[in-house]
């Protein structure tokens, strides 16, 4: 078995994760974790939909921010996709998508403040980077034949519009619709840093132990996501896109002087700002590296590796839940519900909930990341098994699982997993805001101390780390000949 490179790679990552477990801080620190968990589930079972007058406005804002952000992101992303073959464009896109929406929001909050633009750009910018990459991949795979058949002298734009787009239209549309769902999740969590979306109220209810209120918000959010096919109709889309900007709320007016100040003063390293010279600057930098960046990087990497393997294990355990090759319709339906909930809940919210219940350590983060990402991959793999035809005399039960199905889907399973590696790392970094000592913790501390120069350096480091993991993930996927469609 070890002769297969995929198996060797799997064991290597498993070993790294196990070593990570030895050094990681994995503990439940609350004295009564199960009692709190019970109270939480009781809250979800007895939701209170009328707790906050602002709840429905918040839901509306969540949708509005998602629509405006994703629309803007997809337009910019599409334009960037057209010039994606240029290296500087690719680097630029890799960079803007390596920075998480919440980090973008924290940056814009410093100069746009509570203006809707903060939330819109926080979604639109990283999404533009992702759209650019995926759109260009889709466009590249289009059949070149129709273009060749056009009469000579056809304008490039016409050729693009009539020979290229029609071939990829379905894919472009599917992917954009899929990102809209991601946009709803992003929009919801922006509330955690103060924007008027669902996260704002969710955080308030949770932190005060009002689980019935929080349960109501979660249920509304699931319903919103699960009913996307019902209310997001191609014919209605233009109406939504036009209406959405009017539902963002007014926020507070932008003072443009703040923008200039942020870029010309706030983010300049303090020794330079004070004109203290190079010696001071290198002291400043090494202090930042040794006390914040390095511990942050270490914890981010350790947590990412553990979460990656936990995600893999959970995906492999979860896909039979929705596979036609096992069980009856009842189990498959409940399996679907479980996976929908797992993948619709943003990692950030899951981690937040588990941290409240179990206390601070890496454990809640690992479980949250594994649940969310495992839910996504389990769903995709489970769906894939449904297209497989087994021999009529194929074994059943565990033998069917381990000898028939897993080997057949293992390649695409690894492809999805390595695709999500970078996404898991981006989330891991951001979970630091919740109090786990990853890079996000130090970024948040710097912002809390009004030291944006430090925060920017740390965000840059986070982005570079992400770009590195992205490249490594792509390398491994190429080496193992793994192909996949993008997920978010």
């Amino acid at each position: 078995m070890l002769a297969y490179p995929t198996v060797r790679t799997s064991f290597l990552f498993l070993a790294i994760a196990l070593a990570g477990l030895l050094v990681a801080d994995i503990a439940i620190t609350t004295s009564n974790p199960w009692q709190d968990l019970g109270r939480f589930f009781l809250g979800v079972a007895t939701p209170n939909f009328f707790s906050t007058e602002g709840l429905f406005t918040a839901l509306l804002r969540t949708v509005a921010f998602a629509f405006v952000g994703v629309t803007l992101g997809s337009i910019c992303g599409f334009l960037l996709a057209l010039i994606y073959r240029f290296l500087p464009v690719r680097i630029f896109c890799a960079f803007i998508r390596a920075i998480h929406e919440l980090f973008w929001a924290l940056i814009f909050l410093q100069f746009f403040g509570f203006h809707p633009l903060t939330g819109v750009l926080a979604i639109a910018i990283p999404y533009a980077g992702i759209f650019a990459k995926v759109y260009s991949e889709i466009l590249e795979q289009a059949d070149p034949e129709p273009a060749r058949l056009l009469p000579p002298g056809t304008h490039a734009f016409a050729a693009f519009l009539y020979a290229r787009i029609p071939d990829c239209w379905a894919q472009l549309r599917t992917y954009t619709a899929y990102r809209l769902e991601c946009g709803l999740r992003s929009s919801a969590i922006l509330g955690f840093v103060g924007l008027p979306t669902l996260g704002f109220y969710l955080e308030a209810s949770f932190s005060q132990g009002q689980y019935s209120d929080a349960g109501a918000m979660l249920i509304l959010f699931y319903v919103l996501i699960a009913t996307i096919p019902l209310w997001v109709r191609p014919r209605l889309l233009p109406a939504y896109v036009v209406a959405a900007p009017f539902f963002l709320g007014e926020g507070l007016p932008i003072v443009w002087g703040n923008v200039k100040r942020f870029f010309t003063e706030d983010i300049i390293p303090s020794p330079i700002r004070k004109g203290e010279g190079l010696a001071e600057l290198s002291g400043w930098m090494s202090d930042l590296m040794i006390n914040e960046a390095l511990p942050g990087i270490w914890n981010t990497v350790v947590l990412t590796q553990i979460a990656l393997v936990a995600t893999g294990i959970l995906s492999l355990l979860a896909f039979p839940l929705i596979s036609n090759h096992f069980g009856g319709p009842v189990r498959r339906t409940s399996g679907h519900i479980f996976l929908v909930i797992a993948r619709s809940t943003p990692e950030y919210i899951l981690a937040y909930i588990l941290l409240q219940l179990w206390g601070p350590s890496m454990l809640p983060a690992v479980v949250a990341l594994a649940l969310h990402n495992g839910g996504i991959i389990g769903h995709l793999i489970g769906r894939q098994t449904n297209t497989l035809q087994l021999r009529p005399d194929a074994p059943t039960g565990f033998a069917r699982y381990s000898w028939e199905l897993v080997p057949r889907v293992y390649h695409s399973f690894l492809a999805f997993l390595f695709y999500r590696w970078e996404i898991i790392m981006r989330e891991t970094a951001i979970l630091g805001i919740l109090g786990i000592y990853t890079l996000g913790f130090y970024v948040d501390s710097a912002i809390q101390n009004i030291r944006f120069d430090r925060a920017m350096v740390l965000i840059l480091i986070t982005a570079l780390l992400n770009i590195g993991i992205d490249a490594l993930g792509r390398h491994i996927r190429r080496k193992l000949a793994l192909q996949t469609m993008p997920t978010c």
């Binding site: 801080d25 620190t29 609350t30 004295s31 009564n32 602002g54 429905f56 406005t57 509306l60 909050l109 410093q110 100069f111 403040g113 509570f114 955690f192 840093v193 103060g194 704002f200 955080e203 308030a204 932190s207 005060q208 132990g209 019902l230 209310w231 109709r233 209605l236 109406a239 209406a243 009017f246 539902f247 709320g249 007014e250 507070l252 007016p253 003072v255 703040n258 303090s270 206390g359 601070p360 109090g435 948040d444 501390s445 912002i447 809390q448 101390n449 009004i450 030291r451």
Partner: protein
């Protein structure tokens, strides 16, 4: 959803939206650091907004924020003109906004205190100084409040560093930031953290309201007094809201005598304050390196 129901839904939302937003052009906006449970803050500061609006004859609006830094940033960016800051956030804000002034502080803020609290399962007994409790405290789990808090972070960290001559991370086995004082209280009460430090007013108010399980958590040490919360206003408000506006705000705050409103802070009243009152806070913050 059909077109018709969508239109209905859109119209309904538009109505609710226009009802919930107000014109901001000449609205005097203030905020406060989110040091306690949000519902309490919203209730308290809506009351203050109504009161100020009546006294000043201008529209006054309170906006809730999610972090201490967000309050400072909003003040600095002139999106709010007045703020109820803690000692440290006030110092940070006034350093960043030239001409801004501490207007008024609570009577209790002249001599504010931090209480160190411990879960009773730890067996930690109340002591006279942190040094004398060293054996009991070392390697416990410990939580501050917010990273930007004076009573929940700055002062307790200062005293920990003084007593143990090392950083909190080296004294305790685990150091966390609960987010706010109410959370610190709940986390130590539940045993998630063994020891914590919080604003003494929050403790006293929760205690008198009967919201603390005194069998699970007790005060083990009290810091010496220091200056804390204050109302800080931007220097340019007179240009925007008319001559003498700053003085009007100050008088309104000093005259605030609605017992229910004062009780919600909880403060017995407000007295004049000045920027110089907070020099000790600035020095402390510099000495532990959270202010450049």
């Amino acid at each position: 959803m059909s077109n018709k129901t969508f239109r209905k839904w859109a119209a309904a939302s538009l109505l609710s939206l226009s009802a919930s937003t107000v014109a901001i052009a000449d609205t005097f906006v203030f905020t406060a650091i989110p040091d306690e449970d949000e519902t309490k803050l919203v209730e308290r500061f809506r009351g203050v907004a109504d009161y100020l609006s009546e006294q000043l004859g201008t529209e006054v609006r309170y906006i809730p924020v999610k972090s201490y830094a967000a309050a400072v940033s909003a003040f600095r960016n002139n999106q709010v003109q007045l703020a109820w800051f803690g000692g440290l956030s006030g110092v940070q804000a006034r350093r960043l906004v030239e001409g801004s002034e501490a207007l008024a502080q609570g009577v209790e803020d002249e001599a504010f205190q931090t209480y160190f609290i411990a879960n009773t399962n730890t067996g930690i007994e109340p002591g006279d100084s942190l040094q004398s409790m060293a054996d009991d405290l070392k390697d416990r789990t410990f939580t501050f409040g917010s990273k930007g808090s004076t009573s929940g972070r700055l002062m307790p960290e200062f005293h920990i560093r003084e007593a143990f001559e090392s950083a909190p991370e080296d004294v305790f086995s685990r150091v966390g930031f609960s987010g706010n004082h109410t959370r610190t209280l709940r986390l130590v009460e539940a045993g998630t953290y063994e020891v914590g430090a919080l604003n003494f007013q929050v403790w006293e108010k929760e205690l008198s309201d009967g919201n603390i399980d005194t069998d699970s958590v007790q005060v083990v040490w009290k810091t010496p007094p220091y200056p804390d919360y204050q109302w800080t206003i931007r220097g340019d408000v007179n240009e925007r809201f008319g001559d003498g506006f700053k003085e009007k705000v100050k008088q309104a705050l000093l005259n605030l005598d609605d017992p229910a409103l004062l009780e919600s802070f909880p403060r017995s009243g407000f007295i004049p304050a000045s920027n110089d009152d907070y020099e000790p806070i600035r020095k402390t913050a510099e000495s532990i390196g959270i202010l450049d």
